[in-house]
């Protein structure tokens, strides 16, 4: 695999999950060492032992998950590791000045004295970028930078990247989102299975062509599926009024939320990250306690719901944080398939584990969901993220839930896996399940949902029913505009 990155360009690297994008960038950044081949910077071969070497040669990286200390200020975070000192003591004033300089030079509007945990996700990302620039990065690698941003923030980031290129820096953007890539990149490199399969100018290609290159010859549906048919929704599964709940930081996260979910519909929950979506999903699955409000869920009270009770009533859950909530990564695939249903046939016989039944059911599911490798005894952590997610979706749908709560079900998945997960959600709806879909990807919500609630600061600020989706109005509601326009 070889790839040239030209100075002063905005190169996008696209590819399916496991295509090797992240591995490639980790090699460039010195986190991984190549088995063979070499990395040259400005014509000089380099052997990076660690990110420190890469930084010294002007390569900076912004990870998908930020590496910031939330309780420190912007300036402190930026200079962390190479703090300016005077007489051996930290010179904070100089740090603030330097950081303000860097911000001004590249046109960032950031307050160096602001604490990082008071900033929005988009601003935190800018802090990461400033951090890299401050360390003299001429090549900036951004790994899935828009995954956590609102559409507005993503647009803003696009402008930032273009400005950086104009200022003579080189930007490498790793992404799944083809539309976005085409909007900002000069050149697009397509990876598949560890190889570079195409390098094209962004102006000379289309999203469909790129998608075809990424997926290869496999005939898989990559385009939007037809809109859901307007079948009549069935009985009410969830009816909630005035829900209140605290977030992890003990501040109110849900503040008087009303919600109805019926059988046979997909209800989308849209909103900017951190407006109560996660807490809502946790309330519906019994993981978070209500502090006020009432409602019914599958024929029982919503108050006092526990995960065990929720499962008993028929709630399925595909949580956001897969490795923490959905699976036990050190256990085998079959043990994970049994998790949550391990007390019922075919996973148990009386107090004993039913090994044969568990193996057989796992094999069936792995085959049906095209999980690779289809190896029930493999440790789950040895699988790629996409395949892990398929295992989770397979397990939850196999239980035939009456209500399915899915959060960010396709985050970080490749196109093939995304299409499969979407198809399975539609199938669950067709079979009469109510689906609550929480996603930060507005496109995903609009493509799947029959009805959309927009959440802002723990309240519903808008309700839209297919086909009356007005993206502009949705965006306004996501930012807190009330129902002024009906």
């Amino acid at each position: 695999m070889s790839l040239d990155i030209h100075a002063g360009e905005l190169l996008a690297v696209v590819g399916e999950n496991g295509a090797g994008k992240s591995s490639l960038m980790n090699v460039l950044y010195g986190l991984y060492h190549p088995d063979s081949g070499e990395v040259s910077v400005e014509g000089r071969p380099e052997r990076f032992k660690s990110p420190r070497d890469a930084i010294a040669r002007g390569i900076g990286m912004v990870h998908q998950h930020f590496m910031l200390v939330p309780t420190l200020t912007v300036a402190e975070n930026v200079v962390l590791g190479r703090e300016p000192t005077r007489w051996g003591r930290l010179d904070l004033e100089r740090a603030v000045r330097e950081v303000a300089d860097t911000c001004a030079r590249f046109g960032f509007t950031l307050d160096p004295r602001a604490r990082v945990d008071t900033l929005t996700v988009g601003s935190q990302q800018k802090v990461e970028i400033v951090k890299a620039l401050h360390r003299g990065a001429r090549v900036l690698i951004l790994d899935e930078p828009t995954a956590v941003l609102t559409p507005q923030e993503a647009d803003e980031l696009g402008r930032v990247m273009k400005d950086l290129v104009r200022a003579g820096r080189t930007v490498v953007l790793i992404s799944h989102k083809l539309k976005e890539v085409l909007g900002v990149a000069d050149r697009v490199a397509v990876m598949r299975r560890g190889r570079l399969v195409a390098e094209v100018r962004a102006s000379e290609t289309t999203a469909d062509r790129l998608a075809a290159l990424m997926v290869g010859d496999a005939p898989r549906a990559v385009t939007d599926e037809p809109a859901p048919t307007g079948q009549a929704p069935g009985e009410v599964l969830v009816e909630a009024k005035g829900l209140h709940a605290l977030g992890d930081n003990h501040c109110p996260a849900l503040r008087g939320l009303d919600l109805t979910v019926r059988a046979g519909e997909i209800v989308g929950i849209a909103g900017v990250d951190g407006n109560g979506q996660r807490e809502l999903a946790e309330v519906l699955t019994g993981l978070r306690r209500l502090t006020a409000g009432q409602g019914t869920l599958l024929g029982g009270p919503l108050a006092g719901l526990t995960p065990a009770k929720a499962r008993e009533r028929g709630v399925g859950h595909v949580p956001e944080d897969r490795l923490r909530r959905a699976v036990v990564k050190a256990m085998s695939v079959e043990e994970n398939v049994a998790l949550g249903r391990h007390a019922q046939p075919p996973f148990a016989r009386g107090p004993w584990i039913d090994f044969a039944g568990r193996r057989e059911r796992t094999r069936e599911l792995l085959a049906a969901y095209d999980v690779r490798p289809p190896e029930p005894t493999l440790a789950l952590q040895a699988m790629s993220g996409g395949n892990q997610q398929k295992v989770v979706v397979a397990r939850e749908l196999d239980a035939r839930p009456r209500l399915l709560v899915v959060v960010q079900p396709t985050r970080g998945l490749d196109i093939g896996a995304v299409a499969q997960v979407h198809a399975r959600l539609r199938e669950a709806r067709r079979q009469g399940a109510g689906v609550v879909l929480v996603s930060l990807d507005l496109e995903e919500v609009l493509a799947l949902a029959d009805r959309v609630y927009v959440l802002f600061e723990g309240r519903v600020t808008g309700e839209f029913t297919r086909p009356d989706y007005d993206e502009r109005e949705l965006g306004r509601r996501m930012l807190g505009a009330e129902r002024a326009h009906g």
């Binding site: 496991g18 560890g194 009770k309 944080d321 256990m331």
Partner: protein, 381 residues
């Protein structure tokens, strides 16, 4: 099966390495003939652990075999029980440093039931064992409750409860209210002698102190293994240990599983105390110095926290301990087996670092070389 063997390999290598290091230590601390001395000391230890086969084949009576084997098995029984105690807690994600304290409480309970209750043997032994298990479970339950309801870390609480147990039992109960009544003016230390009905039957007559405790300990290892690997509740326990958030989301009662596993851990350590009192001591002696509870930590880690691995490690180190005393014949201190055990633990702990290094190196290779193979997700460093 190959996978199992692979998991045991680091422990085996660690033990082998520590044997080598100690052999060198003995050799280099002699003025002359070090290697010969070290080798014969190890041979003495071997015959002292698994029986003096050369002598036996040379015509000596069978007691040269049964006596050492009996001693080794007796020590192995105690190490197995305390090792299981630590391992069970590990499986649910808790670190039980408190096996020593739980063992003391168990020993005291066994001594009290053995001496102050009148029952036929068929009931007396089980009663004393159950009493010891309950006492150990209660003591561990204190630490579990502190953890689950007050958030006190179990490492801190179990260490402190060890001292509380020691002071409570050795410095008060045994010398105070529960002190044995001296007969005919003679003064004795410790609690009253247990009734013969409560004594664990000796398996090899008077040749060695080997008693019913050994088969019981081996059965316990098998039972714990079967519970963890074969039953629903064992599965839940392991799930809690490996991912408590995922377990909670799956509807598993995390607190109950943790509490029950910790109680079981205490019960096993308590049984070790019972085996000590009912099998060899006959009473709670003035002070129960034997640190089997602390040894349990090493045994559990060397046994990879696997119940059968624990039994294997306990058998090995039981034999080493029993044989170690024979090294004194060659002027080698009998504490060498403990040194070997300590070093093995050190190497096993080091292995985790070693494995982490290996894994990191390996993660690089497949990610680039064979992209079609399933690759672990790139670590987001």
């Amino acid at each position: 099966m190959v996978e199992r063997a692979r998991q045991a390999l680091p422990s085996v290598l660690s033990v082998a390495l520590s044997l080598l290091v100690c052999w060198l230590l003995i050799a280099f601390t002699r003025d002359e003939g070090g290697f010969v001395t070290a080798t014969s000391a190890y041979l003495q230890m071997l015959w002292g652990g698994i029986g003096d086969w050369p002598n036996f084949l040379g015509g000596a009576p069978a007691t040269v075999l049964t006596r050492p084997i009996g001693e080794a098995a007796m020590k192995a029984a105690l190490l197995t029980l305390t090792g299981l105690s630590v391992a069970v807690a590990f499986k649910v994600g808790l670190f039980n440093i408190g096996a020593q304290g739980q063992m003391l409480l168990g020993a005291l309970a066994a001594a009290v039931v053995g001496a102050h209750v009148q029952l036929p043997a068929a009931l007396h032994i089980p009663a004393a064992l159950v009493g010891a298990a309950l006492a150990g479970a209660a003591w561990a339950g204190l630490a579990a409750a502190l953890r689950l309801y007050r958030g006190v870390h179990e490492v801190i609480s179990t260490i402190m409860l060890n001292w509380v147990a020691l002071r409570l039992v050795d410095n008060w109960l045994v010398v105070g209210p529960l002190r044995g009544v001296a007969e005919a003016g003679a003064s004795i230390t410790g609690t009253a002698e247990i009734h013969p009905t409560a004594a664990l039957p000796r398996l090899l007559g008077d040749v060695s102190r080997l008693n019913l405790g050994f088969p019981l300990a081996m059965l316990a290892a098998l039972a714990v293994w079967a519970w963890l690997e074969r039953t629903r509740s064992g599965f839940e326990t392991r799930a809690v240990g490996l991912g408590d958030e995922a377990a909670r989301a799956a509807g598993i009662p995390v607190a109950r599983r943790a509490g029950l596993a910790m109680a079981l851990a205490g019960a096993l350590a308590g049984c070790a105390g019972a085996v000590l009192v009912l099998g060899t001591e006959g009473r709670y002696p003035g002070t129960l110095g034997a640190p089997y509870g602390f040894d349990g930590i090493a045994i559990s880690l060397i046994g990879n926290n696997h119940p059968l691995g624990v039994a294997a490690a306990a058998l090995f180190f039981g034999a080493l301990r029993a044989g170690g005393t024979r090294m004194q014949l060659l002027d080698v201190h009998k504490s060498f087996p403990e040194l070997i055990q300590g070093l093995a633990l050190l190497f096993v702990a080091g292995r985790l670092i070693w494995l982490a290094v290996l894994r990191r190196r390996r993660a690089v290779a497949p990610a680039l070389a064979t992209p079609t193979a399933p690759t672990p997700e790139a670590p987001r460093a």
